[in-house]
């Protein structure tokens, strides 16, 4: 990228909006997944949709790849910069533009943090339901890119359930509006396609969110089981009884110990801890809580407690939400996985993980959203010991293989990004991936928007699926196949 273009970028965003010195660029060289690092050519921090459009138009003209970024809390390398590309950081576009309580809608810019949306509508007793563990920092723009989940999506759904409309700058710089404040806007559900596309279809500059009325009451129960097997059986019992709790979370002994060491959540010391949260009308919740209690006891739970105050409830959740970071207390390094399995496969997959863990001589801690089968195995290792990092990576991939074999997914909420694109072809067949790429070509024919992510092999637009035929760019020596 020559200096002329940097000057052009500078004229759009001004000095505070342009980062180009190598020392400062290091801040942006990775996201929450720090084992991938690439230094971008420049980082731009636009403060308006118009600025985003101007920047993207230049990128389009000059064929400069760009990567959108919020707070950089992603765990799959989705916001990892692309070599010779720029990073478009939306952190300065952080205004809540509209709060419409009668219609339960909030319109925000992408840099608004997840928790700030709830903060703004809290006085009217509403909340924004998706609650990734990083919610105090992560941005709505990033949540949209990753289709972020969280503990409460069991009942309330994911980011995509709560995004009704988007203003998007397409990779050619044009501005489009997808969906809207009303439901079922005529046409294709492109807002549904955009959410979770990991920044590969353009940059969202405005997001219309749905908010939810706070339930009359919330009860959180902690049940201590001898092992995750009994805890898993209790989960099946709760679901079989026809209940849909707001959240069901499980932690194994190792993760309980780590969380205790980090935040002193006052968790019982046990082999499998279940956290069940019910919300809704008081009479309903109390009736169901009695049932949950019985199901837990009949499946071998010893200690059962119900959080008695909001403060106690907050502490219980703090322990759970700090679980990843808490691993630092018991291991110098760890890999976080995000596989999903059908809930019924839980005992089988957990014992298989246990076997693999022993075989590799590495500890695996398990923290998971048990209600929807989303596992977060944490493979613990020490980088200083030769060979351990490689062994940990291999073990972590084997765990994903287990998830795929069980009929699950390689990622439930963290995204594919850079990290898991190599295993996409284990989960999807070639025609599946090719069809997704055709949709991508409709949005981004030059493949400038986060170009190297999600898909295992890039596909040139205009390329016919099926038989191999060289693309004109290839024939001209301007592109090559990997």
């Amino acid at each position: 990228m020559d200096a002329r273009i940097l000057i052009e970028f500078h004229s759009i965003v001004g000095k505070p909006g342009l980062v180009s010195s190598p020392e400062e660029l290091h801040t942006y060289e990775s996201d929450g997944l720090t084992n991938f690092r690439v230094l971008p050519r420049a980082v731009l921090l636009p403060s308006s949709t118009e600025q985003v459009q101007s920047i993207v138009r230049i990128c389009h003209r000059e064929k400069i790849p760009f990567v959108g970024r919020g707070s950089g809390t992603g765990l799959s390398g989705g916001a990892l910069p692309v070599e010779n590309g720029i990073v478009l950081c939306l952190a300065r576009m952080n205004r809540i533009l509209e709060v419409d309580i009668p219609n339960a809608r909030v319109v925000v810019e992408p840099g608004v943090s997840n928790l700030d949306v709830t903060g703004r509508v809290q006085p009217q007793e509403y909340f924004y339901a998706p609650d990734p563990s990083s919610q105090s920092v992560c941005t709505i723009g990033g949540n949209v890119a990753e289709n972020a989940g969280g503990a409460h999506c069991l009942k309330y759904g994911f980011t995509t359930t709560h995004v009704l409309g988007l203003e998007v700058v397409l990779p050619d710089g044009s501005l489009v509006h997808l969906g809207g404040k009303t439901l079922d806007t005529p046409g294709y559900d492109l807002s549904g396609v955009f959410v979770g596309s990991e920044g590969t279809l353009g940059i969202a500059t405005k997001i219309i969110l749905r908010i939810v009325k706070r339930p009359e009451c919330v009860r959180t129960l902690l049940a201590a089981f001898p092992s995750t097997n009994e805890a898993g059986a209790a989960v099946s019992g709760i679901i079989a009884a026809g209940m849909l709790p707001a959240a069901i979370e499980m932690m194994d002994r190792l993760s309980i110990q780590a969380a205790e060491a980090a935040v002193h959540a006052n968790y019982p010391d046990c082999g499998g801890l279940l956290l069940v949260e019910l919300d809704g009308p008081l009479a309903e919740v109390e009736a169901l809580m009695t049932q949950v209690d019985e199901i837990c006891r009949s499946n071998g739970a010893g200690d059962i407690r119900v959080a008695q105050s909001d403060a106690e409830r907050a502490l219980v959740w703090k322990g759970r939400k700090s679980a990843f970071a808490a691993m630092g207390r018991i291991s110098p390094n760890y890999i976080i996985q995000d596989g999903v399995i059908p809930r019924t496969a839980l005992p089988r997959v957990l014992s298989e993980i246990d076997r693999l863990s022993q075989q590799a001589g590495l500890r695996v801690a398990n923290v998971f959203h048990a209600g929807d089968g989303n596992l977060h195995p944490l493979v613990l290792y020490d980088r200083r010991i030769p060979g351990q990092e490689e062994a940990a990576e291999a073990l972590s991939l084997q765990i994903l293989d287990l998830c795929i074999a069980a009929g699950g997914s390689i990622t439930g909420e963290h995204g594919v990004g850079e990290d898991k694109k190599k295993v996409m072809s284990k989960m999807f067949a070639e025609p599946d991936l090719a069809t997704m790429q055709r949709v991508r070509c409709a949005f981004d024919p030059l493949q400038l928007s986060n170009p190297t992510k999600v898909f295992p092999t890039p596909r040139l637009c205009g390329e016919r699926p099926g038989e191999y035929a060289p693309h004109p760019l290839e024939s001209a020596g301007l592109a090559e196949r990997f």
Binding site: I101, T160, L183, Y188, A283, G373, G407, T411, D432, V439
Partner: protein, 422 residues
């Protein structure tokens, strides 16, 4: 209409048995366009192969399930073949302990629900004509009813899909687990796409338990303004209702129905809270039939003088929307009846002379679109003047056309039936 060449019929024989193809009859007409051939493949591979052959021969294909909503959307510009999913009608896997189901597109909704009910579960949706409507058709038209308030629409319930593309590709996306962010969310793309991008051959859904107990109440009001206030007050309350709908009928006083599901103790408490919230208003227990209202709206006395439209507004626009219905209908002497959900979606039935219907629809659409709302015409009399079913497309139209071009470049599927000629 392109003549289906005899050689092509021979070609189809390579992938379909003789009893899987037949000549179309006048009853197979699609919004005034007569197709020639009906294909009824028995596997998704055969369906994809038949679609590829049609595409290569530049024949226009109309995908069809139970044909209950085949008249929705604009008339096709061409309709050579009907590709029926009737034989793809199996419930492939009800993973009841995981609350998911994999089902073929041609399975009727009722058959699906009966299978799921054996394990006390349901697909939490109340589509029109469940005994005939198929999973594929309900998905393609994105049909939803009163349960949407609580459970969302199909886009929130579908977790995986397989589609056949015109080039013969069979592509799957999503998966069999509820929580999954690997790859693009194509299940949402094909939901509501009116079969213009690919033919849905199978789908995977997340399920909900059947409720143990349910109670419905009807709440009368003296005018739409009062109903409006009631609906907003209920929506802003801590009640955990499953559905909330209001009926408006000319000058008659409106009524609203509310549905609760849960435990007996929970329902009693909610009923008491509802009464407190309605103050002096008399609430009465309603029968479950109240929730057939949407389908009853479709019992047409005189289809030649009736139009039905789907209206989408903001929830808090209810009174203003009803006022618009009143004003437009009165000006052109048209009778009207509407069913409005608390989600902002509504169904409007108009009865009157054809020209007057068109005038009411034109005037209503203009008013609604000005407020970023929409009116989609679903039923129109056979002799109806030109009227676009969809309305003005937004600035994403070029992008929608690009998506269509990527997946169906020869415009084989349902040509011109969708938005802006797609």
């Amino acid at each position: 209409m392109t003549q289906v060449p005899a050689t092509l019929e021979n070609n189809f024989r390579a992938v379909l048995r003789a009893d899987q193809m037949r000549s179309a009859s006048p009853s197979d007409v699609v919004s005034g366009v007569q197709p020639q051939l009906i294909l009824e493949p028995a596997t998704e591979q055969h369906l994809a192969a038949a679609l590829r052959l049609s595409n290569e021969a530049r024949l226009a294909v109309i995908p069809r399930g139970g044909a209950t909503k085949l008249a929705w959307g604009n008339s096709p510009s061409r309709a050579d073949l009907i590709l029926s999913t009737t034989r793809l009608n199996r419930v492939l896997e009800h993973a009841w302990a995981d609350l998911t189901v994999t089902v073929e597109a041609g399975c009727t909704f009722q058959t699906l629900q009966e299978t799921l009910a054996q394990h006390g579960q349901r697909l939490a949706l109340d589509p029109l004509w469940p005994e005939k409507a198929t999973v594929g058709g309900i998905l393609s038209t994105n049909d939803s009813g009163a349960l949407r308030l609580r459970f969302g629409s199909l886009r929130d319930l579908i977790i995986g899909v397989t589609i056949a593309l015109p080039d013969g590709t069979l592509a799957s996306s999503g998966g069999k687990v509820v929580k999954n962010v690997a790859g693009y969310d194509l299940p949402k793309l094909v939901t509501g796409a009116f079969g213009t991008l690919g033919v849905i051959t199978r789908a995977v859904f997340r399920l909900h338990p059947l409720s143990h107990h349910a109670r419905s109440f009807t709440i009368p009001a003296s005018n739409p303004e009062e109903t409006h206030k009631l609906v907003l007050a209920i929506q802003d309350s801590k009640l955990a209702h499953t559905a909330l709908q209001s009926h408006f009928f000319g000058d008659a006083p409106p009524t609203s129905d509310i549905l609760f599901e849960g435990t007996q103790a929970g329902l009693d408490a909610q009923a008491a809270q509802l009464r407190a919230l309605c103050h002096s208003t008399q609430t009465s227990e309603a029968s479950v039939n109240a929730w057939n209202a949407r389908q009853e709206l479709w019992s047409l006395r005189d289809p030649a003088e009736t139009a039905i439209a789907k209206i989408s507004t903001l929830p808090a626009d209810l009174a203003r929307t009803i006022e618009l219905f009143h004003r437009a209908s009165d000006s052109y002497h048209v009778r009207w009846k509407s069913l409005n959900y608390a989600t902002g979606l509504g169904w409007l039935r108009l009865e009157g002379p054809v020209d007057n219907l068109r005038r009411v629809l034109t005037s209503l659409r203009a008013d609604l679109e000005q407020r970023a709302c929409s009116l989609v015409l679903l039923h129109r009399p056979a002799e109806f003047p030109a009227f676009d079913a969809w309305g003005i497309p937004g600035d994403s139209l070029p992008l929608m056309k690009a998506v269509k071009h990527q997946l169906d470049p020869a415009n084989t599927l349902n040509p011109a039936r969708f938005l802006a000629g797609i």
